[in-house]
Symmetry: C2
């Protein structure tokens, strides 16, 4: 394993739960290329390993990527990246709760699209807790910090080779977890990571995805993303 | 009056209702500079005229800008730009309803910030109709088209001289009114106008403002705005 993974200190693998879907695969690919140790998680271990192999082929021989069943991936890592459709989020978190280790970080990218219940992907559902990320926070052990991020990046672009043209807005009540997530985001070429404030702000960041999906439909062949302008240069790192 | 105002055809003055506040003044200044005929509306006619005079001094002798009491401004124009705090929106629209002429366009920039009821400007209130713009649509005569736009532009930047670094997302159920609003937005240097879809999408665009305000607070001295990336070049005009 590469000692440079997520900066100084011991290697902290990233388990991408739901890592065989387009968003999870894309993040795993970008992080594998950046030298991170990545574990693809899936309900099906074999599928996880196939996806890991595909990422390895694209990321090259330096890549450190493996595939495991979701709970095993969860137990093997303390950075958990959740990329599942909204309709699967709560059940999966309840199932994985016993496998999560204290001090873990759960990065949630879930968007409560109305498509989850047969509606449009350009509309969202109201979530009782305020946002999908806040729902996640209710379902994980107390000792796990939840961070909301990566909602607005195009899965297609993540799976490509070009730098992205998108900012990642990171929301969390845990300043250290937010900082670590911003560092991971900034390892993806073209991404700028911004502090989006407390976890409750995820309700806005999640909604933006529905707006971007609507624009992709309206303007055809779009891979819409966002940039935040007008902040002091120190904001963008 | 200048015949070039809002493109070919007869001049269509823009009444900026609440035009003595920072956002209204900034839009009026930018449109006056672009050759549009602008009427500043205010509860107080004298204040409207003072603001109009101040804009005239900055925009130069070609500028066509005057000041009127809100209802008179409303009656004198068929493009109405509403820039008032959320807490004043409904009462003002009820008052102005009789003065609105059939076929008018109401461009609403209202953001339902929690600050309206003593809360934070980085949080929003839930609006029964879904958004402040949809509330506006319920309060104007049927023959008036409502467009939601200009929520995310910085009032400070509008009142400056530099080009803006911000997109304007325009939501409306009336395609012609949306198009006209995008043309007006694009007259502001640096602004790109985008079709944000139906009026109901204003609920997302309004929320973004609260997120940007939070970033301005967090990063200090920011004038945060947004750019939408990844759309086909034809989207940006």
């Amino acid at each position: 394993m590469m000692a440079t993974s997520n900066g100084p200190g011991p290697v902290r693998p990233i388990a991408v739960i739901g890592g065989t879907g387009p968003a999870g695969m894309g993040l795993a690919l970008r992080w594998a290329r950046a030298g991170e140790t990545v574990i693809i998680g899936s309900r099906n271990e074999e599928r996880a390993q196939q996806t890991a192999a595909a990422i390895y082929r694209r990321a090259g021989p330096e890549a450190n990527v493996s595939g495991m069943e979701n709970a095993a991936a969860c137990a093997a890592a303390d950075i958990l990246m959740l990329t599942v459709p909204f309709e699967g989020q709560a059940a999966l978190l309840k199932q994985l709760k016993p496998a999560m280790t204290a001090g873990s970080i759960l990065i949630d990218a879930t968007v409560p699209l109305a498509a989850s219940v047969g509606g449009r992907a350009s509309r969202t559902l109201g979530v009782w807790q305020g946002s999908a990320a806040q729902q996640a926070a209710e379902l994980v052990p107390k000792e796990v910090s939840v961070v909301a991020a990566f909602h607005n990046v195009s899965a297609d672009e993540l799976n490509g080779d070009a730098p992205l043209d998108c900012d990642v807005i990171v929301c969390s009540n845990d300043a250290d977890a937010s900082q670590l997530t911003r560092e991971l985001a900034a390892k993806i070429p073209g991404v700028r990571a911004l502090d989006g404030g407390p976890l409750q702000n995820a309700r806005i960041v999640e909604q933006i995805t529905a707006l971007l999906i609507g624009m992709n439909i309206r303007y055809k062949k779009g891979h819409a993303g966002i940039r935040i302008t007008g902040l002091p240069p120190t904001a963008y790192r």
